[in-house]
Structure formats: structure tokens, C-alpha cells
Amino acid sequence: MSGFRFLVNGAPAEVDVSGMRRLLDVLREDLGLTGTKEGCGEGECGACSVLLDGQVVDSCLVPICQVEGRIVRTVEGLSLAARERGDLDTLQEAFLEHGAAQCGICTPGMLMAARAYLDAGGPPDEEAIREAIAGNLCRCTGYTKIVDAIAAVASPVE
């Protein structure tokens, strides 16, 4: 056991756990951030996607010792800035408007994969968006509405 320190959604966090504890378990069990979901637990479904130093990763595949000193962003962090205004993140709004969430289990991970794509300046191009969320399985929507929602928020290529 030893302490691991990192930033979660802009706030410092410190946990005293085994270095091989999954980031997913630290977020859900130790920090109470249950927005991140466990789907398959083996890096197939993307439900547990979070941003690690801005890159989308499956938190079920990241041991906490590798998170020391790094920046984690979860679905709870998406609306953090917006919530002060009583709002959701524009991406979350777009998911609502387009009916991009049904049962909801994939939604937090889908939002984070989409956020990574948008933060990297991804264009509203269907093919590119589909590649960006290819690691996130959804069994309800058929993806079309999710792709539409992401495209609605993406900035057109200048």
C-alpha cells in the first residue's frame, strides 16, 4: 500500500491503495465517482472510458500506480464548469437533444471518447467520428444518433 496523488476533474485526490488497483475501482469505490461504469472489465466495451492527460483510456485497464501525478477527467467533470451556470456540457446537451442516450450504460464512456475527439479538434465528419467512438459499444441506439450529436458539437473544418 502507498499513497497515489493525482488530479480528478481539477481537484487533487490522494488514495492509499495497492498500486495494481484499477483506476476504475479507485474512481467508483474510493472516490465515489460512480458516473464511470464498468461494462466488460477487459477493454472491449469502453463503458469505463475516462481521459488520462487528455487521452481517452479504458479505466479498467489502468493500474493506479500509473496515474500518479497525472490528470484524470471523468463524466462528472464534463459539466463541472457548466454546472456553475446550471448547465450541462454542450456535448451532453447535444446527446439529450438528439436522443443519443437510451439505457445509459455506454453514455458516460461515449461522452468521454467524444470529448477527447472534440478536444483534439475533430471535425463533424461521420467516418472520423465513428472511428473515434469505435471503442465504445452501444447496444441500444445503433450509433446514428450518437454520431449526429457529436457532429452537432464539432467545429466545421475551416
Partner: protein
């Protein structure tokens, strides 16, 4: 909850070597895309001890050496895809990296991990074989270089000793060499290959045949393999329709794949032949 075996986090290579020299040797982890699945206990034995490689900077980096591209073992697939050096000198590896998993896996999974995991379906491995890559490994006993063609010794078995780490991979860049890559899976992302093929050759213009032909495949045997009989058909030949027919037929006859959950032996033989035929047709421009 998955097991949480003890893990050491060395900052330097010599510290990692020290930890690996202890028996039983800890299991190294870099991107974790294969190893983290093992701590669930659903896929064989849970490692007793782990060794984190993520802080060892000596394992990172992509450099152009004299006539060769050198990739640190901890280079991620995303880094390969974004690397201007890889795009310019080894586009087939960039293509292979793009077919592995999806963004979440590419951001974490490493070239060295793909090699050490030694899955017969490892998507970069046929590229290593086709490119005559050399794998530098090291430990307290010193460093040694292993030819990719001699690295995979059996089903998930490698020439790497328990006290050694993969340090970097050297891809020679001979003049005029071309490499083509094709992966066939159930879907484009997140799919483990049914057949994966890399074809390399050096061309000598219209009046000369191909030389140094390599045909390397994954998912069709216990290890990534080269297809020697098919290479012999193509060596000195040119990619004409007749040559392509003969090479594809030879390949389908040469392979001895198995039936498993992802595909059948029959399908793999047929598709490997078709994929090679397609690559030859593209190379021949007909």
C-alpha cells in the same frame, strides 16, 4: 474485484533489471491492455508480482538511425500513428497500429507489449517479420539482439528470458523496399484478426523481378509465421496475374491454420490467398 498483486515502480532501467533478476520474476506491465485482463483471473494464472515500466524513459522514443527506424518498446500505437518518422519510413506499421483495438487501446498498448504478449494474432508482428526487424532485449546479464523471425518460438512462447525486457525494435530501411499490410477481422475496430498478412519486396524496375520477398502472416498458426514456399514463388518474379494466381494457390496450400472461435481453417486458407492476390494485383497495377 480483480486481484491486486504487489507492483514495483522503478524509475530507471537498472532498477527494473534488479527486480527482474529475483525469482520468481515479476510480470512487466506497460500499457496494460493485455496484462490487466489477467488480474481478473479469467484468463489463466494471476501474476504473483508485477513490474511497472511506465516510468522507465529509456523504453520510449522513435528515432531514425543509420538506415533504420528504431522504436522504443514502450511506444504506443497512437505514437506510431502520429509519428512523422513512422509515416514516412514505415507506413505499413502505421496502418497496422490503426487496426488495433480503438482509441482507448491505441493510447495505451505498446509495440513491446504486442511482441512480449506473443499472440499469434498480434497485428504488428507480421510487419516485424516482413521487415526483417531485430528486437533488442536486456537484463542484468547484458543485452542481445534477436531476429524477429527467431523470436516467436511456440504458442505464446518467445526467446525472451524471464529476467529480460524488450528494449527497442530496429526496422532496417533498405532502399526500394515496399511493405503492404492487410488485416481481416469481424469488424474494423476492436476485432482480433482472423487473418493478418504483410508482404514485403524490393523491386528492380520493369525488367527485373522482385527480390527479398517476405510473406508474413498472423492468426494462421501457433505463432506469427513466414510462408517460405510462397516467398519462393514470388522471389525473382513480377506481380503479374499468372504469378498472383500461383502465389495465392501456393499460400492456401502451404498454410495449416486451425478452426477456433474467430474463424475456420478453411476460411483462413482461402482468405489468406485472396488477400495476397489482392495485394499483388495492387502492386502490379492491373
Amino acid at each position: 474485484m480483480p486481484a491486486e498483486p504487489p507492483i514495483d515502480v522503478p524509475l530507471h532501467l537498472f532498477e527494473a533489471y534488479e527486480r527482474l533478476a529475483v525469482r520468481p520474476a515479476p510480470v512487466p506491465i506497460a500499457g496494460g491492455t493485455d496484462i490487466m485482463v489477467r488480474i481478473t483471473g479469467e484468463l489463466g494464472e494471476i501474476p504473483a508480482r508485477m513490474l511497472d515500466l511506465s516510468r522507465v524513459t529509456a523504453l520510449k522514443g522513435i528515432t531514425l538511425d543509420t538506415g533504420a527506424l528504431v522504436l522504443g518498446a514502450a511506444t504506443t500505437y497512437t505514437e506510431i500513428r502520429r509519428s512523422a518518422l513512422c509515416r514516412a519510413h514505415l507506413p505499413a506499421l502505421v496502418e497496422a497500429a490503426a487496426t488495433i483495438g480503438a482509441a482507448q487501446i491505441q493510447n495505451r498498448g505498446t509495440l513491446g507489449g504486442n511482441i512480449a504478449n506473443a499472440s499469434p494474432a498480434g497485428d504488428t508482428l507480421p510487419i516485424l517479420l516482413a521487415a526483417d526487424a531485430r528486437i533488442l532485449v536486456g537484463g542484468q546479464r547484458g543485452e542481445r539482439e534477436i531476429q524477429a523471425s527467431e523470436f516467436f518460438t511456440g504458442y505464446r512462447q518467445t526467446a525472451l528470458a524471464a529476467d529480460e525486457l524488450i528494449l527497442h525494435v530496429t526496422f532496417p530501411l533498405p532502399a526500394g523496399r515496399e511493405i503492404r499490410f492487410r488485416k481481416v477481422g469481424t469488424r474494423r475496430a476492436q476485432a482480433i484478426s482472423k487473418v493478418v498478412l504483410a508482404l514485403a519486396w524490393r523491386g528492380g524496375g520493369p525488367s527485373f523481378g522482385w527480390s527479398d520477398v517476405r510473406v508474413a502472416l498472423g492468426s494462421v498458426a501457433a505463432t506469427p509465421i513466414r510462408a517460405a514456399a510462397t516467398e519462393a514463388v514470388l522471389e525473382g518474379a513480377r506481380p503479374t496475374p499468372e504469378v498472383a494466381d500461383r502465389a495465392a494457390e501456393t499460400l492456401a496450400g502451404e498454410l495449416v491454420p486451425i478452426d477456433d472461435v474467430r474463424s475456420t481453417a478453411e476460411y483462413r486458407r482461402m482468405v489468406a490467398g485472396r488477400v495476397l492476390h489482392r495485394l499483388l494485383r495492387e502492386a502490379g497495377g492491373w
